[in-house]
Symmetry: C2
Subunit: 260 residues, 2 copies
């Protein structure tokens, strides 16, 4: 009979409700501050019902994080529609990352939280796997571009696709994470976190020998095209675009050891 089907759907909708409300509260109060009694009240179900879906608080939060990762994957896939030189296409992914950090800053912080301690231990294997699958979706997009770059000769033929992806992921997450840190902002006199992140991506790409190099191509124009073609909503790109990756000033403008 069809009853079972309806039940399954209702259950799914309720889980959806729980995840989205938990997301809201999580953004507001952080992990420690997320209160399951409050969540239960907000969604008008008993706490026990929440535990019918999620084995622990961590399990619930991981589900929220996976949802966030899904948003990221969707941005990646949109960015993958951009056409141009392979490095331009990877640049579109970089823009997608920044766009994610701009639109969902708190989700980004949540992502950082996962890189710590006992989270994974407290979550169910199913949730862990679901998260892994979403990570794969993101990596697949990058992988396609990296391989295309090698095939096109834009990347040195000896490049290890996995190593290239790792470098890009590491520099991107590291830059975002450090840029969020007030202490680092102070110590590095950081103006624009997004600009700094994108510049670091540029440095890595140049270091990898991914052609065309920063000096050989007008990437500000690329950014304008990315904006126009796949991320019309990325207003922040306008601000960063003019001075992309800090043009080397005419030699001699800076004094040797000086600083204001």
């Amino acid at each position: 009979m069809g009853t079972g089907e309806r039940k399954r759907r209702e259950r799914e909708e309720r889980e959806e409700l729980m995840i989205s409300h938990a997301g809201r509260l999580l953004l507001r109060d952080g992990f420690q501050g997320l209160n399951l009694d409050e969540l239960a009240r907000a969604i008008e179900y008993a706490k026990g019902t929440i535990y019918q879906h999620f084995c622990t608080k961590e399990d619930l939060v991981l589900a929220v994080a996976t949802r966030a990762l899904q948003l990221r994957a969707e941005l990646f896939e949109r960015a993958a529609g951009f056409t141009g030189r392979t490095r331009e296409r990877m640049r579109a992914i970089g823009v997608a990352c920044c766009q994610f950090a701009v639109v969902h800053p708190k989700y980004f912080q949540l992502d950082l939280m996962l890189h710590s301690q006992s989270f994974w231990m407290e979550a169910s294997p199913e949730r862990r796997m679901a998260h892994g699958r979403m990570g794969e979706r993101c990596f697949r997009v990058m992988d396609t571009i990296v391989r295309a770059a090698r095939d096109a000769g834009d990347l040195p033929s000896g490049s290890d696709a996995d190593a290239v992806k790792f470098s890009l992921v590491a520099v991107t997450m590291g830059s975002h994470a450090m840029a969020l840190e007030p202490e680092i902002q102070r110590l590095c006199r950081l103006r624009d976190p997004l600009e700094a992140t994108r510049r670091n991506q540029d440095l890595i790409c140049d270091g990898l020998g991914w052609r065309p190099l920063l000096t050989d191509w007008d990437y500000a124009a690329t950014d304008r095209r990315i904006r126009a073609e796949v991320f019309p909503e990325a207003a922040w790109l306008d601000v960063a675009a003019p001075g992309t990756s800090e043009p080397t000033p005419p030699a001699g403008r800076r004094r040797k050891g000086g600083r204001p």
Copy 2:
């Protein structure tokens, strides 16, 4: 009278005891698992006495983190004693970072935890400032080298010292953090986390145009010198040294799209 002096010293010794024991428990059980009742029992003081030194659990943990950062600063300062080209000297700092991650892997994870949410809010301003000061110690070492590099013409004259430091910090922390993640290890088929981190540092330096570039210098020899002169205990350097930064294989060895 001299009694006050003795009291101050005793108080300091007790705080020391608390921090070092808290560190032990923290490494064993993580932040969530750290139990102040257990700590009190271990150091044979009442819980109330702990709260005479630290306003919250977070405050205590931040003190432990600052202690860890001190260890890192000491490694940095040792590395600063290395002589050679400016990029070699910065490389010694990179080795120091890896050495820290090798010797105190858990402390490194603790460091990552600080980059999240409400920690700083729950700690006292004094502790926050103490941590900031220790961060400055690390940055000072880097700053000296970066400025020397610019003055020597090893870095382009237009380089912004703060931006260079940010790039290095971001890539290093990001690489370490990502390399610890089992999910990332799987997705990137990561063999040796340390090697990957150091390779990313190399890429950033090359991207910055920090001479001599990877292709123009025998950095494996530099690593041997670093090992001999400042980090004799860094046995892991031996393993990574031979194949530093993945030599480009003779062209044509890899098939185009293939993967086992």
